[in-house]
Subunit: 110 residues, 2 copies
DNA sequence: CTTTAATACATAGGAAAACTATGTATATTT
DNA sequence: AAATATACATAGTTTTCCTATGTATTAAAG
C-alpha cells in the first residue's frame, strides 16, 4: 500500500460500496476484491477488516448470514436499510473532500 | 468540517504545500489560510496543528524563525531542503490515492 | 474605558482507525 | 506430505487528530 494513513476514513466507504455492487460478500472475498480493483495498492489486512466489519454490524450498517461450506462457516455480510442509505452519503462526502483538497493543494484536473 | 476522519494523513501534505506556495507562515496564519481555501470546510484546530508542526520540525521537514511583533513572539515555519523534496512526493501520493479510490468506488470523472 | 473578540502559542489527555502479531482451522495445490 | 491459500478472530500498539485547557497580547465594540 502506498500510504496507509490516507486510507483512514475511507475503509467504511469502500466496504459499503463493494456490498452495494455485489450484494453480499464475505471478509476474505472483500480483501481480494479490493486488492484486485486497486491493482494491489490497497492491501486490507484481516486485522483491519474484521474489526471494522464487526463495528459496522454493531452500528447497524451491515447484517450477517452464515453459510456452511463443508466444515467451514463462511460469514457473509450485506447492507441493511441504513447501510444502503449510507453508501451514497459516504461517497458524496468523499468526492466533496477530494474537491476541497484539490483546491487547497491546487491540483490541476487529471 | 464535513468528515474529519478523511483529513487524516493529509494534514502534512496541506502544510507542506502551503509553505511551498507562501514561503513562510506562522501557525495561526496556516489555520486561516486553510479555512479560506477550503471555504470553511477544513477547520484546523490549534490542538491538531501545533503538535503536527512540532513533529515536522523534529522530522526535519520544517525549520522555524522567531519574529518579535511588539511584545509577542511570532513563530514562522518554512521548508527545509528535505521538506521541499517531500512536497511533490506527498502530492503525488495523494493524487495516486485519489485515482485508486476512483476505481474502487467507481467514481465518474467530475 | 472596559469588556469582548481576535490573534497567537502551547500541551495534556483521550478517542478512533488501522496496523502488526498471533492464534485457530480447513481446503487446495505441489 | 508439505506448503500455500482460504477463512475467521482478537490483543496490543501506533498514529493521528480531537477536545479541553492554559497563557498572553492586540484590536474592536460598547
Amino acid at each position: 500500500m502506498h500510504s496507509p494513513e490516507l486510507l483512514k476514513g475511507t475503509l467504511q466507504t469502500i466496504i459499503l460500496k463493494l456490498l452495494e455492487d455485489h450484494g453480499k460478500m464475505y471478509g476474505y472475498e472483500i480483501t481480494q476484491k479490493v486488492k484486485e480493483l486497486s491493482s494491489s495498492k490497497i492491501l486490507l489486512t484481516e486485522g483491519s477488516l474484521y474489526p471494522m466489519l464487526h463495528k459496522m454490524v454493531a452500528e447497524g450498517l451491515l447484517q450477517t448470514e452464515d453459510f456452511h461450506i463443508g466444515k467451514r462457516v463462511r460469514k457473509y455480510y450485506k447492507l441493511t436499510a441504513d447501510g444502503s442509505e449510507a453508501v451514497s452519503v459516504r461517497i458524496a462526502e468523499f468526492t466533496d473532500f477530494i474537491k476541497t483538497m484539490s483546491v487547497v493543494l491546487k491540483l490541476h484536473k487529471t
